[in-house]
Symmetry: C2
């Protein structure tokens, strides 16, 4: 499905120049916007062999700048694409959260240190911080290996959906026109409309592009999403009164928790420290609105302050600890906390929005989103060229600044597009996109509202008994640990998530991601992480917890499962997991052939020979070692259905309900 | 020191053509032979910024072929160069060793399964198998990132050492002449002697090269080492009567231990299974000499047998298990076990030999070396072109087939060359090369003699009570576990290894590699492996186990160590390790500045906040948590000296004894 066709239509209604100059390309999926969400989606689709194009209006990718917090679940998703190794090599890890509160002696003092990640099943029990440019490179390099590059700078101009074609999943029902701009940023040469392009790849020429879109178009764009506006999808939500400043720098300090995620509540405002890659940290600093907001317009006015002033405010919160003025401020900004969510996530199952295009919010303990609205018109006009460039960069970045950890999970929906494009599933599968995303996005925003309020509030002291106590704050931090880490996401019931039968596997929650677990591979005694057998490769994985190994029962089971695997051969892979209750002399080679499709696909729940690893899986998953269970994991790693071994036929009907 | 100079000398005594055509390049180190040992050494030198060249007479690198067993210590060495990640991603892992012996019912039966690696401190408790081409690629890619490529095909023709220059470490005392051959294999256009080269880089031309070598030349070549012969270094050792065949294939079998390292003793000969990357295995098959050896010459005659015949022999050993004829035999050969070691490892501290150039031996449980002598003249003459190509490849490979796991450790000596080249140490440091290598090489060969005898011998049965019992065999396997894994290497006393003070750190053996240990980093609570703070970067690491943290004592210690670090600032890095006996409120920021040169260089021996990792280091290392200790680790990861905290001055005299 790779290698898009390129054709020159005989006429183009919206063009006044010779039509032969319009380049029209048919693609299965066009991704508009090469921010993190866009490139992750494009990467996922390319990996699945889909004919995907990705365009972006920026002339080049983000070079450096914004840090971003990668949540534990997101690291698992990276790993499912084979990309976690590099992320972990390049990124900083946050293992500990520290809390400071007012001291009786003035200034602040350490109140508590707790694990940063409290979700007990997190495979990676920490957060990673890494600047956005480095994160994007990981995906861009992965895409490049598959021959997919971002076309840039291309500015989209028109989006049409041919509603007469919506019922035909193979129809190219969406059409996007774009303008290929000059590579010099800002020097845009727009001939307007769905106009001409000299049909050559030479990027020195300013030209227009016209994309004809097959089946589906995923629109991944930032808060100023062109697609969202084009389709009249509103952003719903509110702005708060909380104003915060941000400064990136290499600290020179005697503060001992500067490499922890540190929340500081002081009499002089709140402050947050987020350590970053290298020696850098980011400071989030609570501001008095009057310091930064124009009273008349209610908008941020960056002229009123700067990084030195921000650090000065931080110093008051952090007293008695000393933060010397650093050699340089690597980046800074100011924002008003706000939370908004798009009113729709998709249109006609042809256009999907994701990333900042569908929600913006500031999540204070995972802080990386900004309320661009207030900021975008506030840049001072008379600065040096360097300063202007820096600010333009900041501004441009803010317009795409992602809630990366949240966005990443969107790429896990790519398999649904693949299934429809390949004809493996009907269009209705795509309705689950909005269904599974919306509730989570709203929950997240509700949580952010609560949490940012707690953090921006005054601390409780003897003088202010109504303030926020450390206990309240810590409780919120820990209560929502599973949620904020991404581990706690649970999808609602749908054709692809069938609740029930939890008694077969108490701790494998249907609708949640399959929890990690170490096994010993039966054939070679190698310890393997189950999640590494569940890569994001568009296959459903049918985990057969074989229970005790009575030969007759196994034969019956094997026959049932063979039928399912044969029927859905393209989409289902089988993995057998031997029980600790198996007969002592039972060898994996004794399994019927259907239950050991390859020597790497049989795991054992026994300790390894050195007695150090493994042997705890049936117990950890809450599966009876005699009864066993069937667990079906979706291509994105989420549990779709659990059934008893005897009810294998329910697996068949699960697949039949959405697969063609 | 990078970027070799290229000069055109006014005259060249050995040339009859215009001298301007001779290209002469000055390099600090020339590596002859781009087999595994050669490229590992070149990579290590390039990483240290040395001006290194590497030549090889083969027109291209090994494409695929030989598997090779990478030992636990060797994986640690890969990791010290930042290369283990890729090795582990691409290679197969052997975790279990299985043993089969004659069954009372005829055929063989399982006797035992044990962990393949028994060395208790192995960081990677398994062996890795990966074909040589893939291993070489890991190092070639690493070298390429530093701008170093193998010059090939270049055949060395002359080696001269100017003995009048030996005392000057900066003199270019060694000169190698080489012939740049045509890139077409076998079409060698040799003008003879130290002859002409048209001074251009166009590789389409056949030309000669002349290298003028600075200071040191490391000669890494295979069993037919040109350098060894040129310098008249003899190979000493013996050949046995044991003849073995080797077959690589993807097995189709009901044998349950085909993915374990499996030693089979049967009434019908012995057999060894080594699983490899992908689905491949290698079978080592004991042969009757008459099947493969020409009675007249005593040499292997490959015409007498082939892979089908070898598999037929294996089937007799492996009965009652079935090995079907595979779709293809990927490689096969026959060899006679022999062990030889070079009589010298270096000449005038200017030329060093390593790899198969200094020892050949067949190590049956780690089998990857061949006795080329017997094989190189035995190829049949009348075969199809494909077959001939395949055999030429095999033959060529055998001539360089490495005992990789042993050779790898040679690259750890690269730091010594760097120290002399940079003027940080006197020439005498290089004498430790031969000293540290020779004993180990000989021990290894002695062990191989013993072990291959045990394995090639008949099994003990009721009919043959003098045969080899499983208990004898297993005992040898486990007794030598530390040794065969590479973990057990202990260097003798020398200026760079000072025995003594073991009571300060019972389990850190001076002369052995620093054992791995997990710590919690003080500043950010991240679990870190100490070995990852000991990369092969030419720095000595001075580990300060601070003991209890009495402020006055710490201040005194810090002053002493500051002096040492200042004096040897280029070569010594300090890492502090806080004790579990420290005062509860002692924070790493309370350490004197000299003891925390960077926030990443202070470790804590406490459990992490989740209580799952760390907290065992002082105990595991046998260090009194109150008394502490100073441990100096060499740039190659071996422990050079241990002293009590009060005797920091002994560290200074240790450095002074060999550093300028």
């Amino acid at each position: 499905m790779r290698g898009p066709g390129c054709r020159h239509p005989p006429s183009s209604s919206s063009s006044s120049m010779p039509t032969s100059l319009v380049r029209e390309t048919e693609v299965d999926v066009l991704v508009v916007g090469a921010g993190p969400a866009g490139i992750m989606c494009a990467n996922a689709l390319a990996k699945a062999g889909v004919n995907v194009r990705i365009i972006d209006q920026r002339p080049s990718k983000v070079a450096a700048g914004q840090a971003d917090g990668i949540q534990p679940r997101t690291i698992e998703v990276f790993q499912s694409y084979g990309l976690a190794e590099r992320l972990l090599r390049e990124g900083n890890q946050m293992h500990i959260a520290a809390f400071y509160n007012p001291s009786q002696h003035g200034g602040i003092e350490l109140t508590d240190r707790v694990p940063d990640v409290t979700a007990p099943t997190a495979r990676y029990p920490f957060e990673v911080t890494l600047h956005q440019g480095a994160i994007e490179s990981i995906f861009l390099d992965s895409m490049r290996e598959m021959g997919v590059e971002v076309s840039r700078p291309v500015v989209p101009t028109h989006l049409d959906i041919d509603t007469t074609k919506l019922d035909d999943p193979n129809a190219y029902a969406a059409r996007v026109s774009g303008v290929k701009t000059s590579r010099t940023f800002g020097k845009r040469d727009n001939h307007g409309g769905c106009a001409r392009e000299i049909c050559r790849r030479d990027r020195r020429y300013t030209a227009n592009r016209c994309y004809s879109i097959s089946t589906l178009k995923i629109q991944y764009q930032g808060a100023h999403s062109w697609v969202r506006k084009t389709l009249n999808i509103a952003m719903e939500g509110s702005q708060t009164d909380y104003v915060w400043g941000v400064v990136d720098m290499v600290p020179r300090t005697d503060f001992p928790d500067v490499r922890h995620k540190t929340a500081v509540h002081s009499e002089n405002g709140s402050c947050m420290i987020i350590p970053r890659e290298g020696d850098m940290i980011r400071l989030y600093i609570q501001l008095e609105g009057k310091d930064a907001v124009d009273a008349t317009s209610g908008r941020i006015d960056k002229k009123r302050t700067g990084p030195h002033q921000l650090l000065e405010v931080a110093r008051k919160s952090l007293y008695p600890y000393v933060f010397e003025t650093p050699e340089a401020f690597h980046w800074w900004t100011i924002y008003i906390i706000g939370q908004r969510v798009a009113s729709r996530f998709s249109v006609d199952e042809r256009v999907f929005i994701a990333g900042d295009a569908c929600h913006t919010f500031a999540f204070l303990l995972l802080p990386n989103s900004f309320y661009q609205h207030s900021l975008s018109q506030s840049f001072p006009q008379s600065r040096s060229r360097n300063e202007r460039q820096h600010e333009r960069c900041s501004q441009s970045r803010q317009a795409f600044l992602p809630m990366l950890s949240r966005q990443l999970t969107f790429c896990t929906a790519a398999w649904k597009l693949v299934y429809v494009l390949r004809g493996w599933a009907g269009l209705s599968l795509l309705k689950t996109y909005e269904f599974e995303r919306r509730k989570y996005a709203q929950d997240l925003i509700d949580f952010d509202v609560k949490f940012s309020g707690l953090f921006s509030g005054k601390p409780r002291t003897t003088m202010n008994e109504n303030g926020v106590s450390h206990e309240d704050f810590l409780k919120a931090f820990q209560t929502f640990g599973g949620f904020t880490s991404g581990i706690g996401i649970r999808y609602g019931e749908s054709p692809i998530v069938r609740y029930g039968n939890q008694s077969c596997a108490h701790s494998i929650v249907v609708g949640q991601r399959m929890p990690p677990q170490l096994f010993i591979r039966a054939a070679d005694g190698r310890p393997v992480e189950l999640q590494d057998l569940l890569p994001s490769n568009t296959l459903f994985k049918l985990l057969v917890f074989t229970g005790d190994t009575v030969t007759a029962a196994l034969g019956h089971l094997a026959a049932n499962l063979q039928e399912i695997v044969d029927k859905f051969a393209t989409n289902v892979e089988l993995i057998s997991i031997l029980s600790p209750a198996k007969q002592p002399d039972f060898c994996f080679m004794d399994l019927p052939g259907a239950l050991r499709p390859h020597w790497t696909k049989v795991l054992s729940d026994e300790k390894d020979l050195r007695g150090t690893e493994g042997g705890n899986a049936y117990a950890a998953y809450g599966i009876d070692p005699h009864a066993g269970a069937l667990v079906c994991v979706r291509p994105d790693g989420y549990v779709g259905i659990v059934v008893p071994l005897e009810e294998a036929s329910n697996i068949a009907s699960y697949f039949t309900s959405f697969m063609v």
